[in-house]
């Protein structure tokens, strides 16, 4: 009985406790659900796009987001978001950062220059890094240096070379609209390889074990014509009115690949020849077996750009166009122009503010659980009719080259050629009465290229033009030898009917110390790419959005991204000194100096004729009877000219003691030197 009562009491006590604890548990679960709302998120996308020159663009986009550390109940613990990156953001107070590793050159004329991919993923070859910090202006440089070292370790690249103040610059407005506390640096010669890709993949929650990143077969990726691996970081951690997402990490990999064409041989591309058909397995050698389990969404897109659609519209009838556009609703991926191996889950049509029929189409394929190892997703795109089209381009096509020969001086020329964009690409400001085209140029020149900014010349349609009419705004910070590179930011205003424009600026090639030349000095030194942007133009693609699955790539495209193009990296040949000669040069120069010094002193203290005889007699008699000698000397001299007798005779008698004194003085000096300076080392 007693036992029972005790048990009863216990049970009631437990109940009481559980009742007491219940609200707390609820509270905890409530908090959990709140934090779930802004939880870390990961999604993956792959965009495939046929290019006019028989190539295929593959663009992987992985987005990870992390909530702010303040609203996150776990503090700085992360489930999906890479810890290394969040630590980077917190340590260096990064607002925005972009790091890209690129190999190859983006062909703006063939691969497009007026779409979000080309403006944000076409990067200069080598490494490009820029970052905006949320630190006081005097700490920015130090923070940048630390950041470069951290990234260098994180990505197995020599980003730490950007630490030196000669290799980075602080753009004011030419590169990025809001660039306070911004630093920008490039390493044009950095070789990009798998050792950079592996650490980049490590940041993904599934690495390349599952999901879309399985497709990243190293040989097929690096076989491509263009390869750009980019990491973009946007943080509002230190923003006072921040939204719930604190850090957004975009990782993209853009490759341009040549599909194997089995039928048509390579070599010529005409309107009559069929474009090569391709599939995931033919371009990557792998297939998608399923989505990354941790990803919220995992989609594959195929985009047909405006130019292609316009061409197809011209070739096909209304009915057939409807088949292309409404592929999903008909339930068949087949239409007169091409065939898709799988039915798209959704078709996105671009919408335009202006009435226009030439709009791009996006087929979306969701990577669901229906795909597995036995039935992988192997998207195939087969052309049925030959098509040749041109891709939308930026209003001006930019090339940059060097003028002049020889290794003493030269000139940089920047040539802008109009691509004659059709009216629909022109924004409203351009079409209206103030017909002008604004172009922003951002150019960093290393210090050993000594640019004469006063020699800037502008040619419009091959005729020289006064600078004041064209250059709206110009900001120059000239290079300082061995300290900082030269930065030139310009806002140019061209008339609309412009066919071509050219800017030239002269420079002298500097001569460097032998230690300052790069290892392969005879190859030459690089001038990093210039960045040309068009502030009036924005690459934004609006899609008819059902808002059901807002994939990051689509939301990215809907934002207005400025049109950027990078010019070529210039290789400037330099003269070199003879690297093998330092000892010879030092010894020969010193010999000549000694020749000068010795012979001049010799001439100055030389005696001739009687003087010599006199000195000789002085020398011989000196030892025996100094008194007598001095007497005879006085007589000898008296006959020649008035001597300062006492001084000379005393100097003779004192010569020995003077010598002794000198020796002691030197020894004393040496001892003092040793004592004061030698002890320190």
């Amino acid at each position: 009985m007693k036992m029972d009562s005790v048990l009863n009491a216990m049970a009631s006590f437990l109940r009481l406790i559980s009742l007491l604890c219940l609200p707390i548990l609820f509270a905890v679960s409530a908090i959990g659900s709140v934090s779930e709302g802004v939880a870390e998120d990961f999604s993956e996308d792959l965009l495939l796009k046929p290019l006019p020159d028989r190539k295929v663009l593959a663009h992987f986009h992985f987005q990870s987001t992390a909530p702010s550390s303040r609203s996150n109940s776990y503090g700085r613990h992360h489930h999906l978001f890479p810890k290394a990156i969040s630590q980077l953001v917190h340590k260096y107070r990064i607002k925005e950062m972009e790091l890209s590793f690129t190999q190859g050159r983006w062909r703006y004329d063939r691969w497009g220059g007026f779409d979000p991919i080309s403006s944000s993923n076409a990067k200069p070859s080598g490494v490009e890094l820029w970052a905006v910090f949320d630190v006081p202006p005097n700490e920015v440089d130090a923070t940048w240096k630390n950041l470069t070292h951290s990234l260098s370790g994180l990505f197995c690249a020599s980003i730490n070379f950007l630490e030196s103040s000669t290799s980075y610059s602080a753009p004011k407005w030419g590169f990025h609209p809001a660039s306070e506390n911004m630093r920008y640096g490039t390493l044009p010669r950095e070789a990009v390889c798998t050792e950079n890709l592996t650490p980049w993949l490590k940041l993904l929650p599934c690495r390349d074990k599952s999901g879309l990143s399985v497709l990243m077969d190293r040989p097929s990726i690096y076989k491509g014509f263009y390869h750009s691996q980019r990491l973009h970081l946007l943080s509002s951690e230190y923003d006072s009115n921040a939204v719930d997402l604190a850090i957004v990490l975009d990782q993209t990999l853009t490759v341009v690949l040549q599909p194997h064409s089995h039928r048509g041989t390579l070599g010529y591309s005409t309107a009559t020849q069929l474009q090569p058909s391709w599939s995931l397995s033919s371009i990557f050698g792998r297939r998608v077996t399923g989505k990354c389990a941790l990803a919220r969404s995992s989609n594959v897109y195929i985009q047909l750009d405006r130019g292609l659609m316009a061409e197809l519209q011209g070739m096909l009838g209304e009915q057939e166009m409807f088949a292309i556009i409404g592929a999903s609703s008909e339930g068949s991926g087949s239409n007169p122009a091409f065939e898709l191996s799988a039915n798209p889950d959704r078709v996105h049509m671009e919408i335009s503010s202006r009435d226009d029929k030439h709009l791009s189409v996006l087929y979306m394929f969701m990577v669901e659980e229906k795909y597995d190892d036995s039935e992988p997703l192997d998207l195939r795109f087969t052309w049925k009719i030959p098509v040749a089209w041109s891709i939308p381009q930026a209003p001006l096509h930019v090339t940059r080259f060097l003028l002049g020969s020889g290794n003493e001086r030269g000139a940089i020329a920047l040539q802008l050629k109009s691509t004659k964009p059709s009216d629909r690409l022109m924004p409203d400001t351009v079409i209206s009465d103030s017909c002008s085209l604004l172009v922003r140029v951002f150019q960093v020149v290393p210090w050993y290229i000594k640019v004469y900014y006063h020699t800037l010349q502008v040619f419009i349609d091959d005729r020289p033009h006064t600078i004041a009419n064209v250059v709206e705004k110009m900001q120059v910070s000239p290079s300082k030898d061995k300290v900082s590179p030269g930065v030139m930011e310009m806002l140019l205003k061209f008339p609309c009917g412009l066919k071509s424009a050219a800017l030239t600026i002269e420079f002298d090639k500097g001569f460097l110390h032998i230690d300052e030349y790069p290892p392969d000095a005879h190859q030459g030194l690089d001038i990093p790419s210039a960045v040309i942007s068009f502030p009036d133009f924005f690459a934004s693609t609006q899609f008819m959005e059902n808002n059901i699955s807002k994939s990051p790539i689509l939301s990215k495209w809907q934002g207005q991204s400025p049109i950027l193009s990078y010019t070529e990296v210039l290789l400037v040949p330099f003269t070199t000194p003879d690297f093998s000669m330092p000892y010879n040069v030092i010894t020969i120069t010193c010999t000549v100096l000694a020749l000068y010094f010795g012979s001049l002193l010799n001439v100055l203290r030389r005696r001739v004729g009687e003087e010599e005889r006199f000195m000789k007699s002085k020398g011989t008699n000196n030892f025996h009877v100094s008194h007598l000698v001095s007497k005879s000397l006085a007589r000898l001299r008296g006959r020649q000219w008035e001597p300062s007798e006492s001084q000379s005779s005393s100097s003779i008698s004192n010569s020995k003691s003077k010598l002794l004194f000198k020796v002691i003085l030197v020894a004393g000096l040496a001892a003092a030197w040793q004592y004061y300076f030698g002890s320190g080392t």
Binding site: S405, Y452, Y453, V476, F511, T589, L595, G609, W641, E642
Partner: protein, 471 residues
């Protein structure tokens, strides 16, 4: 008397000829300026980082766009030169070569320096003959009188080096003008002029600061003369019986008191006072013109600092650029000190030995500078070569003069060839050009050493002759 008339007529003729040659040199320069594609302004022998007109134009452009002219490392000259020559670099006359107005300024500077050199030469020669007369020495070559001033100034205007420096638009004609002005003022005894020239020369290219020794000696001791002790013995005789054979009595009277004077401190003190006055004034002007930029400290760092630390390693006719391009970073400071000490070290022995010939001392110092300065150009060589013309009487016995002449010509012909081989063709390397610079340095050394020894020998000869006369 007839001989004298003849002589005067000859002199007049020579004077006329001088002006003709002077005019011709100006015309020649103007013609050269109109050759558009000579491209002399980018020759390394002509324009150094300090004197290049392109850099000056860049500095002016920077200043016009409200940046300090010393931002970046383009311009290293004086801010006053910038406000003086800068506007000329921008003005362009349609259809004419660039920098036309600048080249006119340089031609004017060249002509002015030539005339001042002539003035120095006339003074110097007068002093020389007077001292010879006092010593009662009649040198064998005395009969055919070389007007040393004319020779020196014609050597200056017709020296290819000067022409190239003037047409090549380097600012060295202006630097040279300041130096010549100093020496002219000092030789005339016009202390403020000498002080002004000295301050300007120092401000423009720093190295002429060592000319303070010859200038002080000039002001204190008077013009070049044989050592004073030669006179001391013969002085009494001169006063007893003034000679009346060759020159007029009047000239004698004027010249007599000048001769055996001791060191007079008064002009020297005046000179130092004027120098400090002008320097304060100059610094004030520079400060005003750089007020909104980095101020004077920035100016010193990027002009004098740039000169002393040899930051620019582009090739020139000197030898330091290659040494500092090759030398190990660790020893850089050591060699910088050694080279600058070398300039300073020779001042003392030279001024002890040549204290009685301050102008000759100035010539020797100028040639040492042209050899050892951090960014030498042919403009510097042109100056000392023309100064050599002043001592045409004393240096008749110069040894190796033909050898040196050929050497200078050879070097100035080979230098562009080597530069072309190295820079433009790429078939030669830096050693080719450096060897040329080396040879040039050697020739300069031989010239300096030989002229010093000739001058000392000349003094010995005078002593011997005067001793023979008086014993």
């Amino acid at each position: 008397m007839k001989a004298k008339e003849q002589f005067e007529e000859k002199m007049k003729k020579k004077k006329g000829k001088f002006w003709i040659w002077m005019m011709l040199s100006v015309i020649f320069r103007l013609l050269m300026i109109y050759f558009p594609n000579l491209n002399l302004s980018s020759r390394p022998e002509v324009s150094t980082p300090l004197t290049s007109i392109h850099r000056l134009a860049e500095g002016y452009w920077l200043k016009q766009s409200s940046m300090s002219p010393y931002t970046g490392s383009m311009y290293h000259g004086s801010p006053l030169l910038l406000s003086l020559l800068g506007p000329l670099t921008v003005k362009r006359i349609e259809g004419q070569p660039d920098h036309l107005l600048c080249s006119f300024a340089f031609v004017v500077a060249d002509v002015l320096s030539a005339l001042l050199i002539r003035g120095i030469g006339q003074n110097l020669q007068r002093a020389y003959y007077q001292s010879l007369k006092l010593l009662k020495v009649n040198l064998s070559k005395n009969s055919e009188i070389f007007p040393a001033g004319d020779i020196a100034s014609l050597v200056y205007v017709w020296n290819p080096f000067t022409i190239v420096a003037c047409v090549g638009l380097s600012t060295s004609p202006i630097e040279n003008l300041a130096i010549v002005l100093t020496l002219y003022g000092a030789s005339k005894g016009q202390v403020p002029l000498a002080a002004f020239g000295f301050v300007m020369a120092t401000h423009l290219s720093l190295y002429p600061v060592i000319l303070i020794i010859p200038v002080i000696l000039l002001l204190g001791n008077g013009l070049d003369a044989p050592p004073r002790k030669f006179f001391e013995r013969s002085f009494s005789r001169v006063i007893e019986g003034p000679s009346s054979d060759s020159c007029s009595q009047q000239e004698e009277v004027i010249n007599q008191p000048e001769v055996p004077k001791g060191f007079s401190l008064r002009p020297v003190i005046y000179f130092l006072l004027w120098v400090s006055l002008f320097s304060v004034y100059l610094l004030l002007l520079c400060g005003v013109s750089l007020k909104q930029f980095g101020g004077l400290w920035e100016m010193f760092r990027s002009t004098y600092g740039f000169i002393l630390t040899v930051q620019d390693l582009s090739p020139n006719i000197g030898i330091l650029w290659y040494l500092f391009a090759e030398v190990f970073e660790f020893f850089r400071d050591f060699y910088l000190i050694v080279f600058h000490i070398n300039i300073l070290f020779m001042i003392l022995p030279l001024s002890i030995r040549l204290h009685h010939r301050p102008l000759f001392l100035a010539f020797v110092l100028l040639s040492i500078l042209a050899m050892l300065k951090s960014y030498p150009s042919v403009g510097d060589s042109a100056l000392y070569l023309s100064f050599m013309g002043l001592f045409v009487d004393e240096l008749v016995d110069l040894e190796f003069s033909f050898f040196l002449f050929c050497g200078y010509i050879g070097i100035s012909l080979l230098s562009p060839v080597m530069h072309n081989l190295w820079i433009w063709r790429g078939t030669g390397n830096a050693n080719f050009y450096f060897a040329n610079a080396m040879a040039y340095a050697c020739f300069q050394i031989v010239l300096v050493v030989e002229s010093v020894s000739t001058m000392l020998n000349h003094d010995r000869k005078l002593r011997k002759l005067s001793a023979v006369k008086h014993s």
